[in-house]
Amino acid sequence: MTETTRYKADPLATVRSMMRQYGGIFLALVVLCVFFSLSNPRFMSVANMMNILQQVAVIAIAAFGMTWVILLGEIDLSVGSIIAVAGMVGAQVIGLGWGFAPALALTLLSGALMGALNGVLTAKLLLPSFIVTVATMSIYRGMVSLPTNGAPAMIMDPTWTAIGANSLLGVPIIIWIVIALFLANHILLSKTTFGRRTYLTGGNREAALYSGIKVDRMKIVIFMISGLMASISGILLSSRLYSAQTNAGMSYELDAIAAAVLGGTSLAGGTGTMVGTLIGALIIGALNNGMNMLSVPYFYQLIVKGLVILVAVWLDVRSKRRKA
């Protein structure tokens, strides 16, 4: 199902097959937006749309990385902790006075390394990724606090903070970054042999091995992608907050997983797309934003969020089953 659409050239057919493919979840997003717009006319303003995109950026980027991992049939629970470590690495390197570029490079490197560790432990020691990343979630979360003994670290670098605060051509830089990363991940997944190998490996690991795919290396690279995406999320978050918080990103892994699964990525591996994940992340973002606009109390927000996830996934499963 998933794959067929990619080869249509006719744009109308593409739109139709998009609707077929993401029908359930797309509908859920539209219904949500219509409902919130009726409740509060400001919801649909351009300013608020940008708000939503900015707020959802951190989750969406982490969810892009998570999509790769889930496509392989694995899971990465350490994403929230990596987000926090990344911010702290950036803050510390800036604190050393090395400037923006080295801070950026080292932060991304730290994310890739943490992801690589997850990948190596999963691929080489053959431990289940759930347990590996539960463990590294704890380890990385402990590590965040080491440099400052638990305190947040201020980030004074003007370039770093500009990422979260400034705009380019009237659109916040954060949104440009989300768009760029979406396109990069989407193309890598749907247009390249690497993406194809990911689908094949997630679909049947054994068959992939026999077909000459280096599954171990693949796994390590994909956990690195997840770590890298999480570290970019960490950069955006810390730049929005002008500081690295030791509890940053706590439980964001669950939101990232929810976004991917809402978007039709199967936890069994082998099925899913970046477009779906983006829609999933937007649903979560629109929901949080809309309920704040309606002044829904916090506890009710939790309940409604859970219900919307259930309904959206159910719609999606149902529409897929009907097609099959």
Binding site: E3, T192, Y199, G203, N204, A207, L209, Y210, G212
Partner: protein, 503 residues
């Protein structure tokens, strides 16, 4: 027909079954009589297993009537079917690998008081059953630790553990060697003598003609004919089944076998892997078909996996004279080796993905440039391979899992043909494949050899090995017993090597 009507214990009229838009069975009739073996014959995807699943209460029929002992029969679940005296051995293994043999055989019928299981009695009962059937399995062993053949025996024991009036056996011998199959045939004889009815499904014509009393042929989900074994022959059955005449099962060699002067393309010397195989040496020339015969568990698959780099092994493998480091399938494929694995569902196909994905998966480099897929090229090449093998599917975008067994096997072949291998290893290439498809696969193997591909074909079917190979290697207990020209071998001689009687 002299029998009285009450001889008929199970009777199907007008039974049909649809899966959404797909019609798997349309208007099927069948009469099964006690004390007789009734064989269902049909191509892959003809609807045999589906019909049996209806009888076993796994799936409901969508139309028609079934009567059992003169009373209507529409089981809602397998337990209801069992209560009415019907038991089934499924085609696909339905065992839990983490449980023991005893636990699997008596699953849901464990000897228990107030819900508490008596493990002692469970073992006793399972042991008694296995002994009575004469099956060589340890009931305490974990199913996951058994070989495929042994698992199939466990599956049979499980099916026969019910005291049933009607026993359904859906391709029970597809993973069994002849010795084990003999045990099963003995059991079937005892069942019919005790007045039970047996419904039997198989693609092996020899055993069908030996076992059956009645044979019903199905085609495309429809009833074709019911024949008595004594009044028919293999040619008529095949013609009914595939809808055309087939005179020769093994296509003739298209050219002369490679002469003595031709250098081998693959040379294996002293290949060993602890506890699996020892000191295996052989060579194949371009255009040659080397058959690998042996009993199930003799270690043939392990040898092939090792030389493909899937498992570590000692010894030397040379391709075109240059050594292969056995570092993994990627190297093997790059050097021109192909491996059609034994278990297509687990090792061969990504069932949830399209034929196109499956066909190109081992040669992605050939349909991409600089890491980017060229989807037109990919589609064209996948279509070509699929057409070349005559895969019957709606399109190359259909999911592999929706095809019948024989067509799935052809997709695996297509995947490896697309890599343009110089040496192609085929492990049980026709397991569970119907006669028509078998013939096509044989034809493809012949064509490949004629084009100069070296073929190594592992098979447990002696006629197949003898019918196709230029030379035959026989393995027993992890050792190579002989390699000889086809012309120097008789079935008896091969068997005596395979059973270790001749060294």
């Amino acid at each position: 027909m002299a029998e009285t009507p009450n001889d008929v214990v199970l009777s199907l009229r007008d039974v049909s079954k649809t899966f959404g838009p797909i019609t798997a069975i349309r208007r099927m009739d069948l009469d099964v009589r006690r004390g007789r073996v009734h064989t269902l014959l049909g191509e892959n995807g003809a609807g045999k297993s589906t019909l049996m699943k209806i009888l076993a209460g796994v799936q409901p029929a969508t139309g028609g009537t079934i009567t059992l002992d003169g009373r209507p029969f529409a089981p809602a679940n397998p337990q209801q079917a069992a209560e009415r005296g019907l038991s089934i051995v499924f085609q696909e293994l339905s065992l839990a690998n983490t449980l023991t043999v005893a636990e699997n055989i008596l699953a849901t019928r464990e000897p228990a008081r107030f819900g508490f299981i008596s493990d002692r009695r469970l073992i006793e009962r399972a042991e008694a059953l296995v002994r009575e059937l004469g099956l060589p399995v340890d009931v305490r062993a974990r199913v996951g630790d058994l070989s495929i053949a042994q698992r199939q025996l466990v599956e049979i024991a499980k099916g026969l553990s019910h005291d049933a009036k009607i026993v359904i056996l859906d391709e029970p011998t597809s993973s069994l060697s002849d010795a084990e199959a003999e045990i099963l045939f003995g059991i079937i004889g005892r069942l019919t003598q005790a007045g039970k009815a047996v419904i039997y499904i198989s693609h092996r014509m020899e055993e069908i003609l030996r076992l059956s009393d009645d044979i019903t042929v199905m085609r495309d989900g429809e009833y074709v004919a019911t024949l008595e074994k004594d009044r028919t022959g293999i040619d008529e059955l095949i013609a009914l089944m595939v809808g055309r005449e087939m005179t020769e099962i093994y296509p003739p060699r298209l050219g002369p076998a490679p002469g003595a002067g031709v250098a081998p393309v693959l040379e294996v010397s002293g290949l060993s892997r602890e506890a699996e195989f020892h000191d295996i040496s052989f060579a194949v020339k371009p255009g040659e078909i080397l058959g690998f015969f042996g009993l199930v568990g003799s270690g043939r698959s392990e040898v092939m996996k090792a030389l493909f780099g899937m498992t570590r092994a000692e010894g030397e493998v040379r391709l075109d004279g240059a050594p292969l480091t056995l570092s993994g399938p990627a190297e093997a494929i790059a050097r021109g080796l192909g491996f059609v694995t034994e278990n297509r569902k687990e090792e061969g196909l990504v069932l949830g993905q399209s034929l196109r994905h499956n066909i190109t998966m081992a040669s992605l480099g050939r349909v991409s440039s600089r890491g980017f897929l060229r989807r037109r090229l990919e589609g064209r090449q996948a279509r070509e391979e699929s057409a070349r093998l005559g895969v019957r599917a709606a399109s190359i975008e259909a999911a592999a899992g929706t095809l019948s067994g024989g067509n799935q096997q052809k997709v695996v072949l297509a995947k490896w043909l697309m890599t343009r291998p110089r040496v192609l290893i085929l492990d049980e290439p026709t397991r569970g494949v119907d006669v028509g498809a078998k013939f096509e696969i044989y034809r493809i193997i012949r064509d490949l050899a004629a084009e100069g591909t070296a073929i190594v074909m592992v098979s447990s079917e002696l006629p197949e090995v003898l019918g196709l190979s230029d030379r035959v290697a026989v393995m027993s207990e992890g050792r190579l017993q002989t390699i000889a020209d086809r012309t120097d071998l008789t079935p008896e001689r091969v068997m005596s090597f395979a059973t270790g009687q001749t060294k």
